[in-house]
């Protein structure tokens, strides 16, 4: 066990069983092939690649939502939480923000009412939302506010590791910058590690320390942001950069 690591992934291979009810035969489709990487504490690791290359599947495998066929996923910290792309569907529309933020603590089950309220206020402060938001339903908030609520909900169980799947691609450019700033701030203040999935190389360049480039389920290149953006070694990476 390395104390400086958040996550180690070793030779991860992962497939989907498409179909496969009682009367149909299941079809295997390989989505991830031999994926190996480490995520260090406090590091922001970008994961780029075209859509359909298995980025989201990698996230799901790390979260335990997809069972790997072979290989290892070693968590060195508490389980990670997830921030989704679409802040409209990641917040339960039936409840208020206060309820949504308290729910992870209720599920965890160790905090009484006043303590939950205290921690909700604290996290609201951290993501820079006004207290009036607590009484609102998600549908009454703006996209940026909603994404802040999602981040708050992900952070309230105090994880050390967040997976963000295209967290800003549904937002306006100005709001994008604000959310990226917030993510950077949380990374510095709380020492969080991120696995940051994006197809937007600009965003990755602004936020990440290291980048992995993924193509058809394989990691074709990884390195620091400087290396990848200034001296790409693979043709595929060069194509991605040129497409920007």
């Amino acid at each position: 066990m390395n104390e400086e690591l958040t996550l180690s992934v070793r030779h991860l291979t992962c497939g989907y069983r498409a179909g496969g009810g009682l009367f149909e035969k299941a079809v295997r489709q390989e989505v991830l092939r031999d994926v190996t990487f480490d995520l260090r504490n406090g590091e922001i690791l970008g994961l780029v690649g075209e859509s359909g290359t298995g980025k989201s599947t990698l996230a799901k495998a790390i979260l335990g939502m997809v069972r790997p066929d072979s290989g290892e996923i070693i968590h060195h910290t508490k389980r990670p939480q997830m921030i989704f792309q679409d802040p409209y569907s990641s917040l339960n529309p039936a409840y208020t923000v206060a309820w949504i933020l308290e729910e992870p603590l209720r599920i965890f089950g160790k905090y009484d009412g006043p303590e939950r309220k205290r921690r909700v206020r604290e996290i609201l402060d951290r993501v820079e939302l006004p207290e009036e938001c607590l009484a609102a339903k998600p549908s009454e908030l703006s996209g940026g506010q909603r994404q802040r609520v999602s981040i708050a909900a992900a952070l309230i169980q105090r994880p050390k590791f967040l997976i963000a799947d295209e967290p800003v691609s549904a937002l306006d450019v100005t709001i994008q910058a604000q959310i990226l700033q917030l993510l950077k701030k949380l990374n510095q203040e709380l020492g969080l590690s991120y696995l940051f999935i994006s197809h937007d190389l600009n965003v990755v360049y602004q936020l990440c320390d290291r980048v992995m480039v993924m193509k058809s389920g394989q990691i074709v290149e990884q390195g620091s942001v400087e290396e990848i953006f200034n001296h790409p070694r693979q043709d595929y990476t060069r194509q991605l950069l040129a497409a920007e």
């Binding site: 009682l22 979260l63 939502m65 389980r79 997830m82 569907s89 529309p93 409840y95 599920i107 169980q157």
Partner: protein, 277 residues
């Protein structure tokens, strides 16, 4: 509950409002009928046979001189009880089955939905006849039978709704946070299916009223004092020529009940869709 609140708040929702007024008046009359009726619904009066509607007998009298208004009040109570009970049994069981099958899918889904198909495969009237032969006739027997017959339709609606939401991001989040399946099903998903389920409940109620009426028309719902609107209707059939107001008033009462609840369902449905906008 939010769907209801929204429908109430939305003043333009005329369907909902009109439905509530009609159903409210009928419900008040039914409750009144449970404790007080203008005449004893079973008392015969030889001097007041076959009277048309008037101020002293609002719906007139039948061939025994019984006050039809009093009889309809009592009958509507029986009908509402049977329909309400049917929806309660069918709804609770159906929603439970639908939630489990829709959320978990796989073998549970196949198993429970085949059970559903088995119930659906029986014509409901035939099933009811068999049950009445086995357990005897009466409103509680009919209520139980209809309840079971109504399970599949509720299960199907619920299943579709839960299936659509089981991979919603907020449900996935709840799973990641470690929520138990029961909590995910009934705290995280169920409130979001109400815009679909509540109209289904109102439609189910109306179908139950009709099913009950047709079953007691066939004489399966037990005898007076358990006379329901369907029983009254089959009585009225014999007096169609001599006391047409009997059939008209009884039928009108069934129509009003269905119309009112139907409007509520329509109102709830039209309030839907704006919510997630």
């Amino acid at each position: 509950m939010k769907t209801i609140q929204k429908a109430v708040r939305d003043h333009r929702n005329g369907f909902f409002l009109a439905g509530c007024i009609i159903t409210g008046i009928l419900l008040a009359l039914i409750l009144l009928g449970a404790v007080w009726t203008p005449y004893d619904p079973t008392a015969m009066n030889g001097s007041e046979k076959l009277l048309g509607p008037s101020l002293s007998h609002l719906f007139g009298t039948d061939n025994f001189g019984r006050d039809i208004f009093s009889r309809v009040l009592k009958g509507a109570g029986v009908t509402a009880l049977v329909a309400g009970g049917t929806v309660a049994i069918g709804g609770v069981c159906g929603i439970l089955i639908g939630a489990l099958t829709g959320y978990f899918g796989g073998a549970v889904d196949e198993l429970l939905m085949r059970f559903n198909d088995a119930i659906t495969a029986f014509p409901s009237i035939l099933l009811a006849l068999v049950c009445v032969t086995l357990f005897g006739s009466g409103k509680y027997q009919v209520l139980m039978v209809l309840g079971v017959v109504f399970i599949p339709s509720f299960a199907r609606v619920t299943r579709t709704a839960f299936r659509a939401l089981r991979d919603a991001n907020y449900v996935q989040s709840a799973r990641l946070m470690g929520a138990k399946p029961s909590r995910i099903l009934f705290v995280h998903i169920l409130p979001n299916t109400l815009p679909v389920l509540l109209p289904a409940v109102t439609i189910g109620f109306n179908n139950a009223v009709l099913a009950e009426a047709s079953m007691s028309f066939l004489g399966l719902c037990g005898q007076p004092p358990d006379a329901s609107l369907g029983t009254l209707l089959s009585e009225a059939q014999g007096m169609l020529a001599t006391a047409p107001w009997y059939a008209l008033c009884t039928g009108g009462c069934i129509v009003a009940l269905i119309f009112g609840v139907g409007l509520i369902g329509e109102g709830l449905q039209s309030g839907r869709g704006e919510r997630n906008a």
